[in-house]
Symmetry: C2
Amino acid sequence: MPKKVDHEERRQEISDALWRIASTRGLDGVSLREVAAEAGISLGRLQHYFRSKDEMLLFALRQISQLADRRIRERIEKAAADLPEEPSPRFVLRESLAGMLPLDERSRIGQLVAAAYFGRAVHDERLSSEAQEGIPRLREFFAGLLRRAAERDELPAGIVAEDEAMILIGLVDGLTAYTLLNVHSPEEALRLLDRHLERLFGTAG
Amino acid sequence: MPKKVDHEERRQEISDALWRIASTRGLDGVSLREVAAEAGISLGRLQHYFRSKDEMLLFALRQISQLADRRIRERIEKAAADLPEEPSPRFVLRESLAGMLPLDERSRIGQLVAAAYFGRAVHDERLSSEAQEGIPRLREFFAGLLRRAAERDELPAGIVAEDEAMILIGLVDGLTAYTLLNVHSPEEALRLLDRHLERLFGTAG
């Protein structure tokens, strides 16, 4: 099915153009025409692939999410290969959360696209439904890791896994925002995340 | 000086128009002309008060911050009037943080303007300098409250006040974002904040 592959490739190229704009001047007020120009195609051709800016943003956002997933999974698998046993729930949790922070250029650009998404999604039920579906799944994944840690007696008693999972997601989101605003460095965001995890797991100094 | 008062009043009216747009369809791609129309004045007249969208956004953001400050201070003073003694550092901290969450329509609109600011400020050094100055001040205020709580033996040993202050700001910011996206309710955001504070103060179930 060469036709389908071409279609996906072209959508990818347009999405890449959107990323480039997102990483430089931002997506506020950017028109489909400007994205088409950045991708080196006509507006009509772009509209063959994406009917609206929101549709394009959603596509870019899902890609970012998939790429981040893959990056985090590879990171965990790589680390696991060097370990004598299975990586602990805490290790997987920490690597997943760290992988959400804008610690390198690739994840920084991803978070800039996510910032553009956020600004529009707060006013758009169709866009925000993406977060309404994705975040509870992520919360459940983190809660599962916390429950496994508790079963291994690696978490203090009385921790409510679902609550702490959402607190972690909220914290990483806020630390990401202040990293993008240059209020603090990416390293400081990671240090604060680790501080929080140490307190959560009861291993703080 | 009636001239100056008029000037401030007009800026306020324009800022109100910006808020109305922010609370309904958002500020992404909104032009000065559209804000002028909402305020019922000509574009030329608006430009007499604000030369750019960023200047207007900064004015609106500072107002939001002042209004939130006043609202929180009044709330604490009102509660303090009913208390037999001075409100505790923990009480002031909790009320301040709760006051930052979009728990009512007024603070929700404020956070929507802040969301629009965020989307632009990540690409603009002049805009982001507002956060770079304001957030460390807020962090120091919260850290001071945590230090006072520690002096009163109301905080477990080994807590690093500056770190926990920034973790609290990041958490409230993230919980705010997911409230605006309708991932969870404002009440759930407040419940999670309280859960975090309970663990921080060592009073969790």
